[in-house]
């Protein structure tokens, strides 16, 4: 059958809530077995997009096919094959972990063993704790377990590791990696770049309801327009000419005492040597590789993480006052 090697096929999705367009002409083609990331700021339309894919919402325009099944018309058949972890979804508050896993397991043709599943998300010690008494991170892990209990072929994970401590986060990542080994297609919504860079084969960057870029994480990073960046604080003005001619340097920006050098190659070494030779004293020298966030800024003019962006702007404002 042609087209069935695609696990998810969304075509021209459009969804509007009253006056606000949440999703605007989004098209995605995700081959079976891929871990596909949807990255974007809050309110970019990530959750609406996956809710349309899950058939939870009906698009105003466009179609979604999952494993060749229409997300609306073939809902009944699709439910057996699709596992969904919703952001902020709640469960029967007075039921325990084991009771919920058992209940949800009965919905599916061939559920996973509940003991093993509970073990795999690290909740064995809390199996008899009621949902309402679990910590936020534990509730999140239970929610992921319930998304997986029916041995789905496609899994939607909305904000997989939000609210988890670093160890639990790494545990969830390895759970997702083992899904990849089993050939399960994963649609991962995130605003955590580290997560996306580590797990995803390809990433769609969403901004204001539109896909602004779609590539592998490394391919997206290349769109940042530079490979490396060196920043430092100089006590005295640094002549731009001093750095611009150096090997590998592509761009130099000076903002007060803070200097940002972008380029490629062994940039930190090259810049440091040049500064020492010129007898310029610098502090807070930092060398970084370009990240998805840099790509996001290059593509949309804004940072991925709102809070961090506001934070930096405040810092910049303070600097300007000095």
């Amino acid at each position: 059958m042609p087209g069935t090697s695609l696990a998810v096929e969304a075509d021209g999705l459009h969804k509007r809530y009253r006056s606000k367009v949440a999703v605007d002409e989004v098209s995605l083609s995700i081959p079976a077995g891929e871990i596909f990331g949807i990255l974007g700021r809050n309110g970019a339309g990530k959750t609406t997009t996956v809710e349309l894919v899950a058939g939870l919402r009906r698009p105003d325009r466009g179609t979604v096919r999952v494993l060749g099944l229409d997300a609306q018309r073939d809902r009944a058949r699709l439910r057996q094959l699709l596992g969904v972890q919703l952001q902020e979804s709640h469960l029967h508050a007075a039921l325990t972990v084991a009771e919920l896993v058992r209940l949800y397991g009965t919905f599916y043709r061939d559920p996973l063993d509940s003991g093993e599943l509970i073990e795999s998300v690290g909740l064995t010690g809390s199996r008899d704790v009621r949902f309402q008494n679990l910590s936020g991170g534990q509730q999140q892990r239970l929610s992921i377990a319930l998304a997986l209990v029916g041995r789905p072929r496609v899994v939607i994970l909305d904000e997989l590791t939000t609210g988890l401590d670093p160890e639990a986060r790494r545990q969830m990542w390895s759970t997702v990696e083992s899904l990849r080994d089993d050939g399960v297609t994963v649609l991962l919504v995130s605003h955590a770049m580290e997560e996306v860079e580590r797990l995803c084969d390809r990433v769609a960057l969403l901004d204001a309801g539109r896909v602004v870029a779609l590539d592998s994480p490394s391919g997206l990073v290349r769109r940042a327009g530079f490979a490396q960046r060196v920043t430092f604080l100089a006590a005295e003005p640094v002549p731009k000419r001093l750095l611009e001619g150096l090997d590998g340097v592509e761009r130099v920006r000076a903002d007060g005492g803070r200097v940002v050098v972008e380029g490629r190659g062994d940039l930190l070494q090259v810049v440091s040597v040049a500064l020492v030779r010129a007898g310029i004293v610098v502090t807070e020298t930092r060398g970084e590789h370009a990240t998805l966030d840099d790509a996001f800024v290059a593509l949309t003019g804004r940072h991925l993480d709102n809070e961090r962006h506001d934070h930096e702007r405040q810092d910049d404002d303070k600097e300007a006052l000095r």
Partner: protein
């Protein structure tokens, strides 16, 4: 492509869902007090005095007036107060939404809730009945078949009224508030706080047509062996249909 036939949750799933709903109800201790404790209280408070007042056919006021009232209260609290507050909580908390992405239909929850509510009603009625017989010498209805039929009709009607509450209440809190207000209003007009003789004629007549009053009156007639007035049965059936229509038109899963 692997075989992707429709697979609906089977009997095991239904059994599990019922068990879970039952656990939810049992673990919600406060929710058990009103439908079982309150009617028992009314029974105990009125039983000894009423048990000595003979009415007709060897039945006392306890049999003819108190027990129909107590049974109606059990049915009304479960249907009008408890069931809608559970449904509103499920809707509000996103449980129905979570179920909507599984092969289980949210209707499973609704049906399981109704089944558990029936069980609760049955328990409440059995407990009150045993207490009345053992401690106060209550006697069974003269027309037992009619009494059981009326109880079943009242239960269905109270659930239909409860579905209106569930359909209209925006939050779990308001579901409890609306449900309780409606329960007390229907109860007051139906003679829950003493005879309806103290009420103005028009109010008393309307009260006898509304589900609570109609249920008490009809059951009372069956108990003493008198013929059940069609007006009371019509009152129950009209409320049942009205509740069904409003609920079907207004009920939302999320």
């Amino acid at each position: 492509m692997t075989d992707i036939s429709v697979h609906r949750p089977g009997l095991r799933s239904w059994a599990e869902m019922l068990t879970c709903e039952l656990k939810m109800v049992v673990r919600d201790t406060a929710g058990l007090i009103v439908p079982i404790g309150l009617p028992m209280l009314i029974l105990v408070m009125n039983a000894s005095a009423a048990g000595e007042q003979a009415v007709a056919n060897g039945r006392t006021a306890l049999d003819v007036y108190v027990l129909p009232l107590v049974f109606t209260m059990v049915v009304a609290t479960t249907g009008i107060v408890n069931m809608p507050s559970f449904l509103a909580y499920y809707r509000r908390s996103g449980i129905l939404r979570r179920l909507a992405v599984t092969p289980a239909s949210p209707a499973m929850v609704l049906i399981a809730q109704v089944a558990v509510g029936m069980l609760q009603t049955g328990l409440g009625i059995a407990a009150a009945w045993i207490l009345a017989m053992v401690a106060f010498g209550a006697k069974p209805p003269v027309n037992a078949g009619a009494a059981i039929g009326i109880l079943a009709l009242s239960t269905a009607t109270m659930y239909a009224v409860g579905m209106i509450v569930a359909a209209l209440a925006p939050t779990p809190n308001s579901a409890v508030a609306i449900g309780l207000s409606l329960f007390f209003a229907l109860g007051a007009l139906g003679g829950m706080f003493g005879g309806r003789s103290g009420l103005p004629d028009v109010v008393a007549t309307v009260g006898a047509w509304l589900p609570f009053g109609a249920s008490v009156q009809a059951m009372s007639a069956a108990w003493v062996g008198a013929s059940v007035q069609p007006a009371h049965l019509i009152g129950l059936v009209v409320s049942l249909l009205l509740g069904g229509v409003v609920a079907a038109a207004c009920f939302r899963w999320d």
